[in-house]
Point group: C3
Chain length 314, copies 3
């Protein structure tokens, strides 16, 4: 999340009661999670295993639980509990703001857009022109929805991500990351019934122009879907994944987090994608493989009995 | 879709600005998509690859982008853009009619039927007797729901199908087929929570008498489900499939479009059905096979190391 | 279900017009289904195949369609149609009570709990403190929801289970078991968007303290989920399963009914669990196996062509 305007490092250090290590005379532009961090951003780390990754990321400011060496153009904010400090900053800049109206006064709906009855529109939502929102849709805070978009009934846009700070040696194993990201649905996108699109935990979840989702599709937090993608029913994509333009996922495909699927890749139904995939190829299987290789394997399996006979009956 | 009453071919040709080739002195009874077309119907085709299939189908009238030979009992309607002409006809006979009421005045609810709060009922819906519609259900236009039906919360009946006219060489890759079909839910059907049943794109989606669906089941457009079928949670069936009577699909089964599953077939959980299946058999796997054959294959796979040892260690 | 207070066996026998075989001088404390029955409970059985299992269960009273030998501390209630008798008792003690309000007067919401607009709360529901219920959630009758719980939009808590009395030789193949159980959601549980959690058919469905569910998760009737479990998107668990504490199910995992998954087991995405699993292990596959064994099998399959060459080309 970018802050509304840059703030001094001093302000942040006072907010979270931190000791600054390094240059103090700079401005902080936002806060992000390690997968999405940019120059000028704050990030947090609380385990030595990830110290190097954070310090060498694009982040300019690292909230950390002990002083370490830091490059000259960066600064540390040392606190006992970096995760709690992260939450404090997020809640300061994007506080939880429940709404008791069906359409918040802080939201806007464009011309010629049809909003059916029983649609909930939260705070700071923008909906474009010539869009149709069917009954019983929920659009949570900070979503941006473009022109000529269709969202069918029962879908939820901007739900909170499934993302927890996990430590099994404390009483509360899973602490929810507060969500400060948004959902951005670009023009000409169509979303089926009973889909769920989580808002970004720290960045944005984006559905690219012209992309079409069938019913019961799930898109995780901070995932970026390109233009003209197709997803058939019951596809699920975990958090912070990237789908380039023109990707087609057939029914019930599952996609793991923080990976990239290349342009115009086609994934057959029920496949499970665990890692990056090159574009312009066709894939199948759980775990997924090149579709032709997978199909040949299915044939090879059928030949085992013949092999067995040949080898064992000699 | 059948028209409310037959119209002259002349009327249609003027509506879409087409040149008639063949006999003009006939009545058009409806319009349909190639998988569902009947005698008296219009159909459209815009790619030479499908010309023969369309001309040899049951359709009496073919909207096409060039003149071709046609049997004496059929006629062509030649236009530059057959898909756009199809859309124009559908929108003429079944125009989009958004409703701003929770229950449209054009809909009827039978005696002793319980409609919980927060249920949306669109235009031209008929609901039978002694039926229960739980909260937060959405029933869109033209659905017909029988007697003794149960629809649990969050389900969406009559959403638009996932069906696009696709051309990757134009600016807009995917153009939505306008939906003119209905959903027909016969007597004694029970539908779980958060299910989605798409209306027919050009025909009807039918759920047969006595069939029971668990939660989060998806049924695609124009699919015909027989009587006394069972579908466990998270089953997904694509468009224009046919399930005969007494079919059982266990949890998370996926079924491809335009195929037929025979009577009393049983498909084990997580299977993927890609083509027609004979009835009265048990199936398993993704891709699906006869369950016994699949189970034997799983055993054969476990014997590969033994084979390897025997062959390689000699 | 436990009755509000114990009733005489005489009262029950009159309600269902049964003949008592065995000791009559006892009190009946509740009614249950065979998987969940306890001492003092009624159970029913209508097929000789299951007579022994019922008579040897914890049940004190067996509704049965013919007299059989019974231990001295138990009694039979002989009727022609045990399933109908079961339904009559359930409907007597927990009658169907539709509500036409968005929040029933018989329900309670704790301090500092936020209920967004468009949430349906049925009869006899209890919601604890500091809980957030997002828009378009449905909470059906008798649910008990703890403190610090989050339920995201579109979710349905307390839907009826997918559980039918099946006889294919009568006109109505599937007769719905009337549900008399509850859903109990303990403190600190978080439930994603568009989840469905069925109430117990005869007992309770329980989600243990600190457990977190992603979007579009389905939990069947009478299933007991332990503490600090994690379920990623589109997990489905059938009825009457038991998950011990700390179990992790990744996306799209399916779990069969009436089985037990041990403490801290981890199941990788898209796996299918058909039977009991030991705790503290990692699993993968459909059908599921120890993850390491499954991964080795995937490697072995890739070696079949090499084996083939060696054996066939000699």
């Amino acid at each position: 999340m970018q802050f509304p305007s840059p703030v001094s490092l001093q302000f942040i250090s006072e907010l979270i009661n931190a000791t600054i290590v390094g240059s103090t005379n700079t401005l902080v532009t936002g806060i992000n999670e390690i997968h999405k961090v940019e120059k000028g951003d704050l990030v947090f780390v609380d385990h030595p295993k990830y110290y190097d990754k954070c310090i060498n990321s694009e982040a300019s400011f690292i909230i950390i639980n002990q002083p370490v060496d830091v490059p000259a153009d960066k600064a540390l904010l040392v606190v006992d509990h970096p995760f709690d400090a992260y939450c404090k900053i997020v809640n300061h800049f994007r506080p939880f703001e429940p709404s008791n109206k069906m359409k918040s006064d802080s939201s806007q709906v464009g011309e010629d857009t049809i909003v059916y009855p029983n649609v909930f529109i939260g705070n700071h939502v923008t909906i474009g022109k010539n869009t149709i929102i069917y009954p019983n849709v929920t659009i949570m805070d900070h979503c941006i929805i473009g022109d000529n978009v269709v969202i069918q009934s029962g879908s939820v846009i901007g739900s909170n991500g499934f993302y927890y700070n996990t430590k099994k040696n404390r009483e509360v194993w899973y602490k929810k990351m507060p969500d400060c990201g948004r959902v951005i649905i670009q023009d000409d996108v169509e979303i089926g019934a009973c889909c769920t699109i989580d808002r970004g935990v720290s960045h944005d979840t984006v559905i690219g122009k012209g992309t079409k989702l069938d019913n019961q599709v799930h898109i995780g937090h901070d995932t970026i879907v390109g233009r003209n993608c197709l997803m058939a029913a019951q596809v699920a994509i975990a958090g912070a994944a990237t789908l380039k333009d023109g990707v087609t996922l057939w029914g019930q495909v599952g996609v793991n987090k923080t990976l990239t699927i290349g342009e115009n890749a086609v994934i057959f139904a029920q496949s499970g994608v665990g890692g990056d995939l090159e574009g312009n190829k066709v894939y199948f299987g759980s775990p997924v493989q090149d579709a032709k290789i997978k199909q040949r394997e299915l044939v090879w399996i059928k030949r085992i009995p013949e092999l067995w006979d040949k080898v064992m009956k000699k």
